[in-house]
């Protein structure tokens, strides 16, 4: 079968993904450390919140494969994708498949919940989120509990995500990690090249997101 190399992930989407990976690990480490390493946890959390706000906007106006309308589908297509997952045939599709699309939604929502509860959390020792003072201690304790529990959920989601990537590599021979690094995948010649978006738009959105977060933490 004829095939060709096409750009499926534009640069902003890739930078978003890998920055998030690094910041997720930094947040995990600094969260476990607590105490005086906590400043890294806070900064990392603000950066993640910035990235998430950017990604939500990018999901509306960004490159084609980054758009929610492109990868969020109803149950029938999700079930079809799940059935297709079991076969060894590589997917002929650029971007997220309907099953992976929901994982993106789950990860984004999970991370958003984590970042927002973090703003209101406290550790009962010496650290607190920048908005903890705006709510009662009881509510802050509840949100801190959610922050702790939701981290376990996130680890689970990330685990499934990584296992799925390994599965695609072993069962279907799809090099998805490389695609997220280089942006390119080799697909059947019939595959349609997705539209990419403007880099300057991504830069503007990111700056806007950072501005919103800066305002938020100084409330």
């Amino acid at each position: 079968m004829e095939s060709r190399r096409i750009l499926i992930w534009d640069l902003p989407t890739r930078l978003f993904h890998w920055s998030l990976v690094v910041l997720f690990l930094l947040s995990w480490w600094s969260g476990e450390q607590g105490g005086t390493a906590f400043k890294f946890h806070q900064l990392s959390g603000y950066a993640i919140l910035t990235l998430l706000l950017f990604r939500l906007a990018w999901g509306v106006v960004g490159g084609e494969t980054a758009r929610f309308t492109q990868f969020v589908h109803g149950p029938r297509r999700v079930l079809n994708a799940a059935a297709e997952l079991l076969t060894p045939t590589p997917l002929a599709q650029a971007g997220h498949n309907p099953l992976g699309g929901w994982m993106v939604v789950a990860l984004l929502l999970g991370l958003l919940l984590q970042a927002i509860t973090g703003l209101f959390a406290n550790d009962d020792i010496m650290n607190e989120g920048p908005l903890m003072a705006t709510i009662s201690k009881d509510l802050s304790d509840i949100l801190s509990g959610v922050h702790g529990f939701n981290f376990a959920v996130l680890i689970g989601l990330v685990g499934v995500h990584v296992v799925a990537i390994v599965y695609h590599r072993l069962r279907k021979g799809e090099r998805l990690t490389r695609a997220m690094i280089t942006g390119y995948r080799t697909l059947p010649a019939s595959a349609i090249t997705p539209r990419t978006s403007r880099g300057w738009l991504a830069a503007v959105l990111l700056a806007l997101a950072a501005g919103i977060v800066a305002l938020l933490i100084n409330l």
Partner: protein
């Protein structure tokens, strides 16, 4: 006031006092006691944390004053963690009552760390204060992660 009214009043008062005395032995009071100690710890750790994090200027004299308080408060906490409080609703996880020896050991380690912090604070060595403080709060967190539930 007639005599029998006085007797009645005194009897009532005695009843009230004895009821109060019994109430003082309730596990609930032990929980409130230890929460009081924990709150006092947080009250004093807070400003030290701000100094170490650089949110306020480092004041060695004040730091040493607060460190002395911690060294007194930490050994007071354990008394409130009596097994009869296991049934009282609190932030203590069930694991705490299953691993009381480990819990006790951790508090004793924190006692050592807080005594060391108070000693270091008196030397005026700011860098060492920061490190020792960091070690101590790490113990707080380690124990909270293990035995404290947030909600």
């Amino acid at each position: 006031m007639k005599q029998h009214q006085i007797h009645l009043f005194v009897a009532g008062l005695c009843l009230l006092v004895s009821a109060w005395a019994t109430a003082a032995d309730k596990p609930q009071y032990a929980v409130e006691y230890r929460q009081g100690v924990m709150n006092a710890l947080a009250w004093n750790v807070g400003p030290m944390g701000k100094m170490v994090k650089g949110e306020v200027d480092f004041d060695s004299t004040r730091f040493a004053f607060l460190a002395d308080r911690l060294a007194v408060l930490v050994p007071m906490a354990l008394e409130g963690f009596t097994p009869d409080t296991a049934a009282v609703k609190s932030h203590a996880k069930a694991e705490l009552w299953q691993h009381q020896d480990d819990f006790k050991k951790r508090i004793e380690q924190l006692q050592g760390a807080s005594a060391e912090l108070a000693r270091v604070a008196k030397t005026g060595d700011e860098a060492k204060m920061r490190v020792t403080f960091g070690d101590a709060v790490k113990m707080c967190k380690g124990c909270h992660d293990e035995y404290q539930k947030k909600h």
